[in-house]
Amino acid sequence: MFQFDIFNRNKLSKPLPNLWDFLAFVMVGCAFLMIAGGIHEVMSPAEEFSASDISLDIWFLPYYAGRSVFRMFAAIVIAVIATFLIGALAAKNRLAEMIIVPIIDVLQSIPVLAFLQISVFFSIYLFPDRVLGVELAAMIAIFFAQAWSMILYFYQSLKTVPESYYEMSKIFRLTVWQVFWKIEVPTARPGLIFNVMLSLSASWFAVVEAEVIQIGHTKAYLPGLGSYIKVAQEQGNLKAIGFVIMTMLLVILIYDYVIFRPMQVKIARYEDSILEHHDHWLLTMLSRASSFKVLRNIWPYFKKLLLGALIVVGIYVCYVSVNWLWHLMDGSFIEHFSWKVDWGKWWVSEDVLKNLVYVTFVSAVRIIGVLLLCLLLFVPLGIYIGTKPVLAQFVQPIIQMLAAFPPNVLYPVMMYLVFEYRLDPEIWVFPLIMISAQWYILFNVIAAMLVIPKDYLLVVSSLKCSRSMILRKLYLPSVAPYIVTGLVTGAGGAWNATIMAELFTWNGKVVHATGVGSLMKIANEQGDSVLVAWSVLMMCLVVMVVNILVWQPLYNYAIKRFQ
């Protein structure tokens, strides 16, 4: 095909290879190598994955970064497919809607890492003799970190597709398939991409955490940045931690620059009201490289091929799940986890339960404290930045970068300090949880400040209002609903962080702050799955109750009162 097109001089545009093709070739080649390598590694027979396999040599970092990125990317692909399937189903079918939406609402409020334990059980059972088993457990955890909000967003945006688009599609008799790809997906696209970007931090958080998987009493260390951090932490290697933080930053930068920026530019071309030329070298490559022109010509055929491949994969997944169900009925599933139906084993003593309630209460109070602290520090900061638009424009991308940075990569540094200077973990756990919550609040406050109509600012300045009056009468009411949004997401991040942050380990030494997170983690390491299950349950309960009793009414009030 390529050869043919090169020598077909009759065509209007002669697709001769150019410099862009060279670049494209290098990039496609790299991507291909990475995917192929990743798949090869994942499909290879199971290994031990002991900590000693992880080398702290910095020259291994690119390899580990590659493995982590592959995991992340695979999870996002699965999440996107799930979003399209489940979101569309919920939007199109009343019955499905009534079942799916409440379930996702609940799932969304469950801390990501609680899922990890469950996913380990299932995926290792499914693929006991493949690396895929452990890998899948990690991918599922990452998937859970972002799929729910994506599905909900897609579902909601399908509901807002203008009726005239549907009428138009009926008049021109577009097929359901065409409507989906030409109308529905593009409608959701900008928000969906933004959604993925926002939850990037949460997903990196999950990637880092999910790479070390507790299976029974042993730990599996999947090659990746997360395992690298864990091993470095266990060996007390501060230098390695420093390198991995830098690597992480670099990976996020590249990720943002190569994937999200081009997508945003592409959308800005048709969405922005300002007629300004948006550009990105990747897009230029796509439109200039003649090999892509050829690709575009054969795309319709390729699309059919892709669809066929997807169907094959779908059938395989169905086969696996049927197989799995079969095993489930077979009884081997139950034996596999030694879940002999012994309900007594799942019951815990009253003392344990009392302790559980107590530590959950402590964690909840701590999170409230963290959120109040965030408000105290970041609302004034956000308002200050918001009053200076030039500063805001400069600061915003930096904050976005920082927000995408997974906080748990920074934890070892804090833990080192705690052990080195004998600090009190009960106090120093605060900053660890705070970095998981603060960005949402700062983000939202700045955003709210930037959308205050210019006329209002003119009014208050023409009336010569005092600073405190402007703050009370204009700024605070304007940012209030946004603060609530920030608090809700921030609280979610804080609960997630609790599990990781309350247990301090460094160079083999362990101390912990009181809380449900440390309890859960210790139980997990001791292989006490009963206590893990109870604490997960407890945590979910608190998160959901707080959502229903506090956040939702507060949000509704803020919307009604201030907007």
Binding site: Y165, E167, K170, F172, K182, Y270
Partner: protein, 441 residues
Amino acid sequence: MSGSIISIHNVSKVFPKRSSQDVSVLANIDLSLRENEIVCLLGTSGSGKSTLLRIMAGLIKPSSGHVFWHGQPVHGPIPGVSMVFQTFALLPWLTVLENVELGLEAMGHLSVSERREKALAAIDVVGMGGFESAYPKELSGGMSQRVGFARAIVVEPDVLLMDEAFSALDVLTAESLRNDLIDLWVSQKTKLKSILMVTHNIQEAAYMADRILIFGSNPGRIMADLKVDMSYDRDQEQPKFIQLVDSIYHHITQASESFSRIGGRLKPVDLHFRLPQVDVSTLIGLVETLHSEAASQVVEISELAEELHLDLDELFPIIESLQVLRFAQLKSGRVELTFAGKLFADATLLDRKRVFARQLLDYLPIVRHIHKQLNEKGKSIHQSEILSILRQKLSDNVALEVLKTVIEWSRYAEIFAFDVNTGHISLDNPEESDQSASETT
């Protein structure tokens, strides 16, 4: 022979409502669209004419009655019918060319190059050549609608349906687009056999139609079928054209008058009356305009519409509101201020409120009901109580709109106060209670 292309027989449409009864939108309509004619459905908004258009396009199923395409019963969108939308319905993520091609995409039998050729030709026909690679955001409203036309004609339809296709455009743009469409129609460059358009603009109907169907509301029905016997070089200054416009106004006002009067007297409205959504300042504005007109304070409605640059859609609700409050009345095509209207116009700012309050209490049963409730109970009542009364006969959305209007008018008249935070309607002035609250703290 001019056979009928689309015809509908005895079509009705009711929208189901949760509570007591259904809302009837269209009642027993017969209509047929013949070859070589432009038919115009003219009526106010909410009269159901857009619903009728969608039924004829096969987009909505009628509750009863039948739709025929060349004599064959229709179930679902008709292949030979294309449509132009009020909101253009162009996909923002596709270029002009891709948007036009989209119309052809569902026709599987075309190759990529054939599709492109046809789309480019259609874009040229509507005069948008050169804009092929532009995104809709780069186009003005007029240009967007031209692309909408290109997309509609590229599939070579027999019938073109237009749903208020010009109403989102400014006056000049709309006029040039109308002219171009007429030229296209006269030149017979397309395979179009017939056009059916929905509009609330009388001038537009008079300018374009071979046949004008005047549409009445509640429930929607065809009140008159006017044949226009003019060639397509119509001029708005032409006596024949002015005559036509006058006769359209005459038909419309007659429909409206027969609806609001019993035996020559104005009909009193009931508790569930569907009050038009008009704000107080607009009402005052029209009263003042009528007052400053001739000494007789009687104005021909067509003159009024022209002078104020108002569409049917905008003018009629205002006149209806004034009539309900007995500030003015509509009599054989003329608007006339009543005694109360003159009194109101002459009064000072504060006296006006008093006059307005009296008219509200005398002629609007729902306001009288709320006022009575407040006096009897002595304290506030919740808005949901009033809403539930209105919902007995009105749909949820309409009930909410009516309540909003009632609250706005009554607030102006200082009959009662309303607190949006609590949803309470009360007799006391909120500011006073606010002050007393802040004094105690």
